[in-house]
């Protein structure tokens, strides 16, 4: 009915967090450049803004395509109150239940997959930098 609202809320929060992290990283990069402390990509690994951009793209992509599915099925309309279930008081409770169960599960599942992606990527970066050091 409106399960994609939970990933939508997460997507908005993660996008804001990503912007803040990006700004902090840019600021710290400027400091490093001033102090001539350029660190190679192999030593620093993947930045958090890069990792968070994977999650934002997963969430926004899912939300946009799921929104289309809800419009297709007539569950979402482009006029107030946007969710058709809101028109009938009897439908509000099942809608909230669906948001709480399916919506939350979607958001948690996508986040878990992203955590696995980050762990695998970090492991790969460490493995590559170790091999580079051995070769040198």
């Amino acid at each position: 009915m409106a399960c994609f609202t939970v990933p939508l809320a997460e997507a908005i929060i993660v996008t804001v967090v990503k912007k803040v992290v990006e700004k902090k990283e840019r600021d710290s990069q400027v400091k490093c450049t001033k102090q001539s402390e350029l660190v190679s990509a192999n030593e620093t690994g993947l930045s958090w803004s890069q990792k968070l951009s994977w999650l934002t793209r997963l969430l926004w992509g899912g939300v946009v395509l799921l929104a289309l599915e809800h419009i297709w099925h007539g569950e979402v309309v482009p006029w107030m109150p946007f969710l058709t279930a809101m028109n009938n008081p009897a439908d509000i409770a099942p809608m909230l239940h669906e948001i709480a169960t399916i919506g939350t599960s979607m958001a948690v599942f996508v986040t878990l997959i992203w955590i696995v992606m980050v762990l695998v990527a970090d492991h790969k970066v460490k493995y590559i930098s170790k091999n580079v050091k051995v070769e040198n």
Partner: protein
Amino acid sequence: MYLIFTAIAALVSTVIWYKNAPEDKYMLSTLSLIYWGATLMWFVDHVMAYLIEGGEFFEITLDATLLGVTVVLLGLLVWLIILLVKDPKKVFYKVLHSKR
């Protein structure tokens, strides 16, 4: 059916991205992440519906097939808009610069 279509689109876009990696001139990583996001969410939706309501896991109807095609096209449209706005090849800059 739309879960199958989106999953296939996610697999195909990931394979094409990997073939061109580490270069990502056409932002195929974004396209694959858009499809993967939707695939993961619909997978959860289908599993939950199957466990709670029962019935068939995949909805194989003409309506679901048309929705699947529309969803894949919308994913491509979203990716195309992002590609043109971000313009990683600086095509618009080059075109405008050459006209001056």
